[in-house]
Structures are given as C-alpha cells and as structure tokens.
C-alpha cells in the first residue's frame, strides 16, 4: 500500500555518522562498533535530541543484517510496571543472540519505571550480562537508581544547537523541494528549542499549509499546537472563578486523558506568559511547585490539581 511517512521517520539517520550535532557522543559510540562490544549504556537528555536514533543506529551498525533479531525496543512510560521487567525484558534477555555475542535491549523513558521495577531491572542486567546489553534512555538521570547508574556508561544528550537543527531542516526541505524562506527556517529553529522532532514536525505541518514556508506560517502552525486551554484554565482561576476553572480541569484530565504531570508542566511554562506582575508570577510558581510535590504524593491527580486551582483563585 502506498504511504507517506512522517518526516521524523523518513529522515531518521540510519548511520551514526549521519547524526548531526553530536560529534563527541558519536565518536565514543563508533568505538563500540569497531570493537563489536559495548557496556550497558545510559542516554540522558530531553525529548527529540537523538537518544532513540543513536540507539537504533548503533544496533544497526553492530549487528548489520541481524539487527532486528538482536534489538528490542520497549517503552517504559507506557508499560511501566514491574511485570514488564519480569516478563517481556527477561524473556528477550534469556534467548540467544543471533550471529553475534550479545543483543541489545533498548528501554526508552526508563525513568518512568517505578523503584521496584528498577531494582528488578538491576538484577536482570547482572544475570544476563553475558548475552545482553541494555541501553536505557531517560529524561533525568537522577530518576535512575544509583546501582543502575553505576553499571552504565552515561551519555548526556543536551538540547541540540540551533545550527544543528537548521542543517537537518534545510536538508529535508531541499529533498522535499519546499520553498523554505530564511525567516521560516529561523522560526522553526526558535520554536524547536533544540528538539529535532518538534522542528521536523513543524516543518511538515507548515508544508501542509503554505506553498512557501515563512515565519508567519511557522508561528501559525506551532501556536495551534499549544494547549491554549491550560493557559485559559489558569486565567479563569486567577479571576477567582474556581468552579469554571475546575470544569476545564475535568475536561483536560478526565475527558481528554492528559496526565497530571503534563498539565502541571504546561502550567509552569505558561506562568511566564501570564499578564501579572513578576512578584505574582513567583508566588504562582511556588504554588505550582507545592502542587507538583503533592501530585507525586497523592492518589488522585484531580484532587491535587483542584487544590492548586483553589490556591490560584483565592489570590
């Protein structure tokens, strides 16, 4: 069947050397390819900076044609229970590698694993270390328990530089024969904030709307992707209308299924865009911080976020 890939996939670098803006990391990874051996790895960094791409490219270069058989990808944020570690990961770890000495388990967003699951994982890493290597990716390495960190070579992926983003975006635009204006390119790099996935999605979305991609089209496209409702919810709460803001929260959390964590992250970001004094902003951030803390400690996200709204609306 004829299809079109999202460009993030179509242009995902297949070789380590094609990855832009990551030279020191790539050099180290290439040495593993040369030796055909590697330790457990921990890739830490924000989304869209090349962690998954590097893991897949590394597997392809080490295993060649057998890479698919020897590489397993699991996303911990969707399957975060201890059973994932006990069953899925263990099952793969205990089977024999094909055409090589070891295989690779790539555990994406592994900071989403509970502490119990991480401890189970640590045992699995030890027991199957002769046949299996782990690449763990995470946003925050501090959320990975120390015993796992000490078993891994740690790679820190910072946000990509604007230049690295621009190189990639230009390349895609040329290949897709898109008229990408200079200000459009700058705008994409600006909104992407070092996140390549965001940049490429912004490019593809812009290309879906305008013939030539200008600054205004990019902002038009990306501003629509922003969840205005969260900002709106904060504004409503700040006017003192607790009940209306609570209704919006019900829609976001219960109907649309956003996670409490996502909502609070957005609220924090939106605080800087509110039309209130800086003093007030600081006060709001303190409230959000307290709510974030309670969110982790509490059982029901709705109740905890509701308390934050009560705080905002009482002033």
């Amino acid at each position: 069947m004829e299809f079109e890939k999202p460009w993030t996939e179509k242009y995902r670098p297949q070789k380590l050397e094609d990855i832009v803006g990551r030279d020191p990391i790539i050099r180290r990874l290439k040495s593993y390819v040369d030796k055909k051996s590697m330790p457990h790895l921990l890739f830490a960094g924000p989304p869209g900076v090349g962690k998954t791409t590097a893991a897949i490219a590394l597997a392809k270069e080490i295993f060649g044609e057998y890479w698919k058989q020897n590489f397993q990808e699991t996303n911990a944020s969707d399957e975060r229970g201890i059973n994932v570690v006990r069953e899925k990961i263990k099952d793969f770890a205990r089977t024999k590698p094909i055409g090589g000495d070891f295989k690779i388990i790539f555990l994406d967003e592994s900071d989403a694993l509970t502490a119990d699951a991480q401890n189970a994982l640590r045992r699995t890493m030890e027991v199957y270390t002769s046949t299996c290597r782990f690449i763990l990716s995470c946003n925050y390495s501090s959320r990975i328990i120390d015993p796992i960190q000490s078993r891994c070579a740690i790679f820190r992926f910072g946000p990509l530089s604007n230049d690295a983003v621009k190189v990639m975006i230009k390349k895609i635009a040329e290949n897709e024969k898109i008229d990408l204006k200079e200000d459009g390119l700058n705008a994409i790099a600006y909104v992407a904030e070092g996140d390549m996935r965001k940049a490429i999605n912004a490019l593809q979305a812009s290309a879906g709307i305008g013939d030539s991609i200008t600054e205004s089209i990019v902002y038009q496209v990306t501003s629509r992707a922003k969840p205005e409702e969260i900002k709106n919810m904060m504004k409503v709460a700040l006017t003192g209308d607790f009940l209306s803001s609570r209704k919006i929260l019900q829609t976001l959390l219960l109907e649309q299924g956003l996670s409490g964590e996502d909502i609070i992250m957005q609220m924090h970001r939106e605080t800087f865009n509110l039309e209130v004094s800086d003093k007030e902003k600081v006060r709001i951030i303190e409230m959000i911080g307290e709510a974030d803390f309670r969110l982790v400690q509490g059982a029901n996200e709705f109740i905890q976020l509701e308390y934050l709204l009560a705080n905002l609306s009482t002033g």
């Binding site: 069947m1 004829e2 299809f3 079109e4 890939k5 999202p6 993030t8 996939e9 989304p47 998954t52 897949i56 990808e73 996303n75 944020s77 969707d78 994406d108 967003e109 989403a112 897709e176 024969k177 996935r197 965001k198 999605n201 912004a202 593809q204 979305a205 879906g208 709307i209 305008g210 013939d211 038009q220 496209v221 629509r224 992707a225 969840p227 205005e228 409702e229 607790f242 009940l243 609570r246 019900q250 219960l254 109907e255 649309q256 299924g257 996670s259 996502d262 309670r294 400690q297 509490g298 059982a299 029901n300 709705f302 109740i303 905890q304 509701e306 308390y307 009560a310 705080n311 009482t314």
Partner: protein, 448 residues
C-alpha cells in the same frame, strides 16, 4: 420473593398514598383535557411503579413499559413508545405508557432520547406516565409538559402495618418491636423493608434486624454531608463511619460538594484538607498500611467541617461528577489511546510523545491525498481517521480507495512528482479556505 407475592392487586392495598390515588384517577379519567403526561417523582420504594401497574390493571389498560435497563435513545423511543403513543387502540383496548426512571435517560448513551421523549409527550394519543426519584434530574422542558405528582417517603408506621400483614399471612414469628425496627431502618422504602423481612427467615429474634437494612442509601450520605457543612465540629467524622463507601470515593463526594458550601479562604482551607486526605490515602495504599486511612477520614470529614462557621443552610448536594465524566468519555479516551499507540509504535516513542505528532497529522488531513498517505503509514482505520478529523474523514477514505486502485509504486521517490502536482492544485484551494479551515480545524486540534 415476598415482594412479588404481596405486590398490591388493587388500590386498597396500596399503602399510604390514598390522596394521590384520587389525583391520578382524576387525571386519567379526564385525559386529554389537561397535560398529556404525568411525572411521578419520589424516593425509591415509595410506590411509584406499583401505583401505575395497579392503575392499569384496575382500569383495564394495556401497560407498555420501558425501564432504564432498556436502551432509550431516540430511535428506540420512537420505535416502541412512538408507535404506541400514536396508534389508537385496536379492538378498543386502551394503553398506558410507562417510562420508569425517566431521570436516567442519559445524554450520551441514550442519544437524542430526551428530545424524542419531549416530542412524544406533546403528541401522544395515549396517557404517558414517567417516574423519577428526583424532580430536578428530569429536564425542565419535560417537566413543563407533565402534570407533576409527588410521592412522599412512606412513614415508618405505614411500612410497619404492611409488614405486619405479610408476617401474619406468612406465619413468620416476630415481635412487633423488631418489626417496627425493620420498618424504621428502611427509611420509608417499603420494598426494601419487605426484602429485609424476607431475608431473615421464619423465626426472627430480637436484634436480628441489625443483620439487615444497612443499605448504602444515598440518603444517608446526603444526611452526613449536610451535618458536615452545618456543624463545624470534628465529631462529624462519626456520621461517616456507617456509610458504606470506600474512602477514596467518599473523598470525591466531599470534594464535589465542598465548593457549594464554602467560598474564598474557607474553600481554600477545605481543599487543602481534601488534598492532604488524598495524600494519606495514597500512603495507605502504597505501604499497605491501612491504619493510615484514619488520618485521611478525619481530615476529609472533621477537617473540612471545622473550616466553616457552622450554622445550617440549605445546600443541594450532588454525587461526584468524576465517575460520570470518566464513564461517558471512556470511548473517546480509548480511541485516542489506540491512535497514540499506533503513532508510538511507528515513531519509536511513548504515547506521551506521540501526542506531539497530532497537530501535524491533522494539518495533513486538510489535504485528502496527504491524509490518506499518512493514514496508510500509521495504519489508521476509518474510525480513527474520523476521530482525528470529523469533517474530512470521508474525503480521506475516498482518496485512500483511489490509492488502492492506482498501480503500486515501489520506489518512494517516484511518489514525489505526483504528489507535488497534486500539492499545487490543492494548495490554491487550501489557501483560499485557509482561515475558514483553521477555525474548523481548531476544534479538532484542541480536542487533543
């Protein structure tokens, strides 16, 4: 079952609602002069449905019944009730249409049900009777078109006398004192009282009534809530001890109603205790140390109570919307989840990250061909395409079928010229309608 065996056979056996019997008889005998439908509302077990059944039997009407276990959307109502309400009777039989539990016609599941019902009520050729527990749960448009009759909670004495009749007829050994206690704890629900009697067997001893009757009636939670907000006392926690609700559910009840009782600083303080109670609940669950529950309970009841000034005033309490919303949005949440899982699988990311693809995808959907191509890649089915873009999904599906007819192209780059040509044509179109499209598009995007 004693409840069925002693179901009233005629008006004289209906307990404690004599004045109402007359009112209803008058309505039905002069039917057509007044409102065409009757709404009977009152607490469970007060005899609403019983009344209608006896009525139809005594007056020789056919009873057409539709209760909450039947689907009651527009189509079902029109099919069953609509037919019955418009056709005059064959062979001279008269009909009564009974819509039991009319307060349970749901907005979502019984789509169009409320609207269809209103039309039927206005035009019916036969008497329609609706029953409901609460007057307020029936939409105002329907209330305005109905004659209203209220059934009061039965008095304990009335329940007692019926229980006594049954006990004698069944030769059940029981003292009056015990029988009265069963009647009292039924809260005026005769059906519940008869069931309690039934479940205790033929030789009932003093104190046996304590074995039955602890129904999780909403009345008791409403009473407890009312005391909570009017007393300003930590002792109010005792009111909640007998209520058979799990602490996390109880917390949602209190959470739902607190903003009705408190404003401003009081509200903030109360929400703080609710939040803290939730934290203790989580500690109890996580550490399996359920003795932590007591702090949660004390804070959510006593804590929230002492925040207020006390003093009684009327608040209309309602059950938590939390479960209601979760229930009615289940389908959309599941649809969204499978879409995100498909994206996550193809793009090597979590469902959380997969969300960030949705704005881009919905923009591609503005162009049917692009929409079809990207849908093919993610292997979206028709329902999922519709979920992402309710307006354009037909066009995308058509374009998808077109793609299937065209000879398959193996080389990906050979798609490009076709696509580019297509793009320029479609572009003009999309440029013209850009603004309009964005308005309609907006909603789709925000839905995520």
């Amino acid at each position: 079952m004693l409840v069925e065996k002693y179901f009233p056979k005629n008006f004289s056996e209906i307990k404690g609602q004599q004045a109402i019997v007359k009112e209803i008889l008058a309505w039905i005998n002069t039917w057509g002069n007044e409102k065409r439908a009757l709404l009977i509302y009152g607490p469970p077990g007060s005899g609403k449905t019983t009344m209608v059944k006896v009525l139809s039997k005594e007056l020789g009407y056919d009873l057409i019944e539709l209760n909450a276990s039947d689907k009651r959307d527009q189509e079902a109502l029109n099919r069953i009730v609509g037919n019955a309400s418009s056709s005059k009777t064959l062979f001279g039989y008269k009909k009564i249409i009974l819509l039991d539990e009319a307060d349970n016609i749901h907005g979502k599941e019984d789509y169009g049900g409320a609207k269809a019902l209103l039309e039927i009520i206005k035009n019916t050729q036969n008497p329609i009777i609706l029953t409901a527990n609460s007057y307020w749960e029936v939409s105002q448009a329907i209330r305005d078109n109905c004659k209203l009759v209220q059934f009061k909670r039965l008095q304990a004495r009335t329940v007692f006398s019926r229980l006594k009749e049954i006990a004698q007829a069944e030769k059940i050994q029981i003292e009056d004192e015990t029988l009265l206690k069963i009647a009292e704890q039924s809260n005026g629900d005769l059906r519940a009282a008869i069931n309690d009697l039934d479940s205790l067997g033929n030789n009932i001893l003093k104190g046996d009534e304590k074995l039955v009757g602890f129904r999780d009636t909403e009345k008791s939670i409403f009473d407890a809530l009312s005391k909570l907000y009017s007393s300003s006392s930590i002792e109010v926690r005792k009111e909640f001890m007998d209520i058979d609700k799990k602490p996390d559910e109880l917390l949602l009840w209190i959470d739902e109603n607190t903003p009705k009782a408190y404003k401003g600083k009081e509200l903030l303080e109360a929400q703080n205790f609710i939040s803290k109670a939730d934290i203790y609940l989580n500690r109890a669950f996580k550490t399996r140390n359920y003795s932590m529950w007591k702090y949660a309970s004390d804070l959510m009841t006593g804590g929230v109570s002492v925040v207020g000034e006390g003093g009684s005033r009327y608040i209309s309490f309602s059950p938590p919307r939390y479960f209601q919303i979760l229930g009615s949005s289940k389908k959309t949440r599941e649809a969204r989840k499978t879409i995100l899982e498909k994206i996550g699988k193809k793009c090597h990311c979590s469902t959380k990250i997969a969300r960030s693809y949705l704005p881009m995808i919905s923009i591609l959907f503005l162009n049917p061909k692009k929409g079809a191509l990207i849908s093919n890649f993610f292997e979206f089915d028709l329902e999922e395409i519709k979920f992402i873009d309710e307006k354009n999904y037909r066009k995308i599906e058509l374009s998808r079928e077109e793609l299937l007819k065209e000879p398959e192209k193996k080389d990906e780059t050979s798609i490009t010229p076709v696509e580019l040509k297509n793009k320029t044509v479609e572009k003009e179109d999309s440029q013209n309608k850009n603004e309009e499209k964005q308005k309609t598009q907006q909603k789709t995007l925000f839905d995520f």
